[in-house]
Symmetry: C2
Subunit: 247 residues, 2 copies
């Protein structure tokens, strides 16, 4: 079994943690940019991106995981003078984690600026939806994507739940299912795959700076494989991600 974990934050993880993920079956992962406090300086992001495109890739390789950096500004850590950061964002394999947390003016401005960069550079985007006001922010996210005529093939809307999946599927975007405490259980993910089919559904663990089930994707793969067959499991835990991220 070879899995693709489509959303992690490797900076919050030791090389031994990545080794355990690799042993569990995770062989590819998208490493999304995040800073666990709000940086006072946009330059912090520039060095973070350099670290993610060099040191972190090496760390992953040593642990047996191919890490693809997704660069971007998360709505929870927007630095002052964020414009300085934008020009470096196309240096990654994808753009992320971007999106909105509370739907405020600055968040929308930063989100839209990054979506435009994705369109100009034909780069896939990992779009966060928050724990609170999930439905409202998802709706607003879809409106922004529509307003910009953002291509379906470049957008994965992440941390999707039973209450948000339908709208996203209808609009043709990809759905990220985060199997993690406080988000979805493996059983929840299974039910969504069962109901909506495996097309455009991509699993991730959101492993990062807090406690995490680092083997969430392989575990969910096994459950889906047992209940819905290996072909479907393989699609949501590997193939859809490889296709979406063009890897």
């Amino acid at each position: 079994m070879r899995c693709f974990d489509a959303h992690i934050h490797a900076e919050g993880r030791s090389i031994e943690d990545l080794e355990k993920m690799s042993e569990a079956g995770v062989k590819y992962a998208v490493n999304c940019a995040f800073y666990p406090i709000i940086p006072k300086y946009p330059e912090t992001f520039l060095d973070l991106f350099r670290k993610m495109t060099s040191f972190e890739i090496e760390k992953g390789r040593e642990a047996g995981i191919e890490l693809y950096p997704a660069l971007g500004i998360h709505p929870r850590c927007i630095p002052p003078r964020y414009e300085i950061v934008l020009s470096e964002i196309p240096e990654g394999s994808a753009i992320g984690e971007i999106g909105m947390e509370r739907g405020e003016k600055l968040e929308i401005e930063v989100f839209e600026a990054q979506l435009k960069i994705a369109m100009e550079n034909d780069l896939p985007c990992i779009i966060h939806t928050p724990g609170k006001m999930k439905e409202e922010i998802t709706k607003k996210t879809l409106e922004i994507l529509e307003k910009l005529s953002f291509p379906e093939s470049l957008g994965i809307i992440d941390h999707v739940t039973a209450t948000t999946i339908e709208d996203i599927m209808e609009r043709g975007y990809h759905c990220g299912l985060s199997v993690q405490k406080g988000k979805l259980s493996a059983e929840d993910a299974l039910k969504l795959v069962e109901k909506y089919g495996p097309e455009r559904i991509i699993l991730n663990s959101d492993t990062g700076f807090g406690k995490a089930q680092i083997d969430a994707v392989p575990k969910t793969y096994k459950l889906i494989s047992e209940r819905l067959g290996e072909e479907i499991a393989k699609k949501v835990a590997l193939e859809n991600a490889r296709e979406f991220f063009k890897i």
Copy 2:
């Protein structure tokens, strides 16, 4: 058993790793500043220090370890315009990890500037010695300390070996024994404690961005306790550090 690990880099470690350290017996640790690539921007250090004095302390607490931030510029990651960083260095519980890697002009300049800050602010300093040219750089380090009349009570020279310990002990500084692959084994540390006595010897694991024996201090504690008695083990694995760092 309660241990003090006098030199770690918590940024390279997940909360689960810190929990394992805590379960093994590490209840206090000095978290030394380091950036795993050379930052292009000194501002990166300013945000790193803010992260170390907020987010990392919280992470440690959640895992059961009291983390004391040692702020400073390591010789392997000196940023341009490093002067900008200096004014924030006294915000930590200690200064570190500072020192020299190859003994070059810029390294000496940055090292001396930080030693002066330590003297002005009466802050304990963790002084790195490199894997290569260990004896030569240790000698040079002692010369610089002497030149500045650096107080013995504020200096721990770290990654000490059988070939460097004697000079440091003679000059009255503290010796950091790093029990880690490629550095000392627990057996090596035991022998040094046996030969030189427990005064001014402080154990650490140097757990950080690479693979590490995260329970090195508790393991060495047990070995020393078995062979030289609990009182001596307690001194080098807890009490000397608490005294030196004034905790």
